[in-house]
Subunit: 342 residues, 2 copies
């Protein structure tokens, strides 16, 4: 089939391993008829997990054996050097060789980034890879990057992130000119640091649709399509946000469980609470893109369940369909052309 | 009265000016019998606001005239140089001269920080001031600093923040040895930046109760008492958190307002929703401390209402009672003593 999208799944990584990956794979194949998946990992374990779901290997759901597993606490450099037959490495190799259009892994982020960079190499014109995810907002979703691949980003790197985020948002969300915001702590004299102020100038002079500085709270308004920041800052913003959201979820539960009367109120409000829970369900935003590589690599949350891992597969499929790396290259070229023209 | 605590209130700054400050002052005096307040600002406006509440100036609620006002968008350096008779500046002057034990302002953060630093000077042994606030957590509140006074903190500055946060937490929350966490993005090889790694070594070698690295989500668990970070990072974490919390509040409202049935459910759940709202009400956490200065300065949110501004007055009163600057000095001395002993 010419329309077929093939995705390699690192089926051994993450907290739940093959059980979750195999179930998510079966569901994804049912959702998307153009999809074929390669389960990468220990054949025996994968066959057992498939058998438990009454499924056998097929054209659309193949097994590719890989003997090793990268542990969650393993040093990235060590995983990269020592585990050439890990499910993570082999899944990336399948992207490199063209047997898969993308790979998805719920493994160790550092190891995934280091190995993907080593195997796939960077796109021309991109110096640093970045991790990008989608976050929900009141007026629409926002893509935020970098979320931790870089911890001391210079202004030039922030521009690269803007280029990559813009290319992704334009492809995935069908936006002709995504609005790009630069994360800062305000517009006053004393605020901001040198990198951010310098990046603002680069962005204002670029051909991107630069919307100026945004603050942390703006991420959740959705008034810009892409928010650009250093990876240390972005990671802290993401984790703090998750912390607040899960604190509030817990407080809602506590308050409704307080006594028989509040429990009754909770029972009556249950359909509303379910809708609310669905709207802020972090699983629906699982699947972060490792951008800037010559290949599509999607990082799933380590604790992802079937729904969440399935969402990461969907993200990978969309990026293959849209050929995001090619779009990033085009955006890099447009930026360079504009700069040379100035 | 020897037990009297006098606090100067910048009554002209903030979005609501004298109306909110005067009402918050009256309520604070009712709550705390040991308190005296000085309203700093335009006498006419303050008298009018007091009259509207049927209150006249008294020993415990004096007016101190100041003709100028620092605007919210004014450059800090300009406000500091040009507005020597602003309500903000005069309130700080009253702390300097000893007529007030602390001041509270809802004005421009940059101007407040610059002016306070210029007038009050730094405590011996402290190189940089820091902004510290309390955030709610599932297992207890956490003090986080810096929230934006410094945007390129070196390891030594992070140690200073830990010393100051620790002194404040120990005084305000009666904790003999507050647990101090250092905000990072994980413990893996590739994670963290140089400043944070270096700060971790300084903290581990200090006499503080250092609990190691924490991530963004840990702020809202409350398993450490103090979280230390660079001001850019802390500000983004705080604003992102506020963004998520207000998005969720809005989604709760939307879901319960969806149709007559959900509205009825909302009506039944109203007492529970009110309790929930109270527990995550940001007004209850208003009042950030500007630490490291030879004097107590509390920054209120610009949009603070009566409840929120009152909370900032209470924070100021507590810091006066505990003499937080003296405690910070002691903590600095203890740190230096330990370092020299090594």
């Amino acid at each position: 089939m010419s329309r077929e999208i093939t995705i390699a799944l690192d089926a051994m990584s993450g907290d739940h391993g093959p059980q979750v990956v195999v179930r998510a794979a079966i569901a994804a194949l049912e959702r998307n008829r153009d999809l074929a998946l390669i389960l990468v990992g220990r054949e025996e374990a994968l066959l057992a997990a498939m058998k438990a779901r009454n499924v056998s290997p097929s054209e659309r759901l193949r097994i590719h054996h890989a003997a090793q597993i990268v542990e969650m606490d393993e040093l990235p450099s060590q995983a990269m050097r020592m585990k050439k037959d890990s499910s993570m490495r082999v899944a990336i190799d399948l992207v490199k060789s063209g047997q898969a259009g993308a790979c998805v892994s719920a493994g160790n982020t550092g190891a995934l980034m280091a190995t993907a960079r080593f195997v796939l190499k960077m796109l021309p014109g991109i110096d640093r890879p970045a991790i990008c995810t989608t976050l929900p907002g009141l007026h629409g979703a926002t893509r935020v990057l970098d979320l931790g691949a870089n911890v001391d980003s210079k202004a030039e790197h922030l521009l690269e992130f803007a280029i990559m985020g813009s290319a992704l948002a334009s492809a995935a969300d069908d936006l002709p000119r995504p609005r790009v915001g630069l994360l800062n702590i305000g517009a006053e004299e004393m605020k901001g640091n040198d990198q951010v102020r310098e990046a603002a100038q680069l962005l204002a002079g670029s051909e991107l649709n630069y919307a100026g500085f945004v603050e942390g709270a703006d991420i959740y308004l959705g008034d810009v399509d892409v928010v650009v920041c250093d990876g240390f800052v972005g990671n802290v913003a993401l984790k703090s946000s998750e912390g607040v959201a899960s604190m509030i979820r817990e407080l809602i539960r506590e308050e409704f469980m307080r006594n028989p009367i509040t429990r009754l109120a909770g029972l009556i409000a249950l359909p509303v609470l379910h809708r609310l829970r669905r709207r802020i369900d972090p699983r629906r935003y699982n699947g972060a893109s490792l951008l800037g590589l010559s290949g599509i690599v999607i990082k799933s949350h380590g604790g992802a369940d079937v729904l969440a891992f399935g969402r990461a597969i969907d993200v990978a499929a969309l990026e293959v369909t849209k050929d995001v790396p090619k779009l990033i290259c085009r955006q890099v070229e447009a930026t360079l052309a504009k700069r040379e023209a100035v």
